[in-house]
Symmetry: C2
Subunit: 216 residues, 2 copies
């Protein structure tokens, strides 16, 4: 059987499956099924089976999935058997929240350094790290072979920061600035824009609110 290339949207669901499998392990569960995963995640069992089929056969027909085995396979597929060092650029409120967030390390990532260009912030401690001058960023990234960075700077600075990161060797960017970044094809960008998510939601909330007010 030749494996087909998984669409990006399928790849994007794997972290959710991984999180649920880790939760099942915490519950001391040894096996699960696409039905159970689907019910817990609000996705159809058929969709889950189809998604996983892009990466191989992980269950015995009728016997379901071995939780630990499937978890380990997803970690391998997502390249999470290592801990990825991450550069964080921007030491404002958002950067502060990110350095104090304890969810990274168990899930494959570690903030290795925080950079800012504000002399008031440089040298301050943040989540156990000293904020470094952004002028040291390229050298630091080279030296520590960092491939992934988080951009938590204002909109006007985001593209300049992205260009520097890419020039230094970063090939994955998590971008909190609500602006599309221009990067070479080999660089992967994930954008976090809470307002876009609220706008997406407003499509449905507005429909529902309208039908409610029409009904009263």
């Amino acid at each position: 059987m030749t494996k087909r290339k998984a669409p990006d949207i399928v790849v994007g669901r794997l972290p959710m499956y991984l999180r649920m499998l880790n939760q099942l392990i915490d519950e001391a569960r040894q096996t699960t099924s696409s039905q159970e995963l689907g019910e817990r995640l609000g996705i159809s069992a058929a969709q889950i089976r189809k998604d996983l089929s892009y990466f191989g056969g992980f269950g015995k027909y009728g016997a379901g999935y071995d939780v630990a085995y499937l978890r380990d396979q997803l970690r391998r597929i997502l390249h999470l058997e290592q801990v990825w060092p991450v550069a964080l650029v921007g030491a404002g409120d958002l950067g502060h929240a990110l350095t104090n967030y304890h969810g990274f390390s168990q899930r494959g990532f570690e903030i290795a350094a925080v950079f800012d260009n504000d002399s008031q912030r440089i040298g301050q401690m943040m989540g156990g790290l000293k904020v470094l001058d952004v002028d040291e960023m390229e050298q630091f990234i080279h030296k520590h072979n960092i491939k992934i960075a988080i951009i938590a700077v204002p909109v006007v600075a985001a593209q300049v920061v992205a260009d520097k990161l890419v020039a230094a060797g970063v090939i994955g960017l998590l971008n909190y600035a609500p602006v599309p970044l221009k990067v070479p094809d080999y660089v992967t960008v994930q954008n976090i824009d809470p307002v876009a998510r609220l706008q997406h939601m407003a499509f449905y909330v507005g429909q529902k609110a309208k039908s409610e007010s029409a009904a009263t």
Copy 2:
């Protein structure tokens, strides 16, 4: 022509189109094309035309799109002609970053109140708002007819907070806690989990990093 129901993934792209159209308006542009939008956003022109076709015909054949008209139509489709008041639950670092983020109001949302259960935080000022006791939350939401809330509390509190919000009448949740929420079908949830986005990215970054090291 009967309009087909737009898939959720298409709805999710509309905020990106809206943002780009606003940018074109800032550049004093009057018309654009699916080609230009596609190039700027890194999406195919055909995909953009197909996405928009779910909601009507917005361009004259060969003449492209009127920027302001298309922008206004997208705002109408997304129910953004009003400003939605939003309840923010959680006044930690992340809540702080969100209350100080100035991108909400121009794009259709306004944080109307911030709630926390920590007596150290209640009564503090945050982004011009006094942090309120979470015990006042349900009454406040009823009184101000709030339909949308942001959950920025620790994982262990997220489901309890979601239950209270839904009971009070909220039908749209933007969830920053990295845990899936159980809500009734009529409630829309958008999850923001930066680690899931990093894991999604690691799929590609790991492939690229591997091929780089194999080549050297």
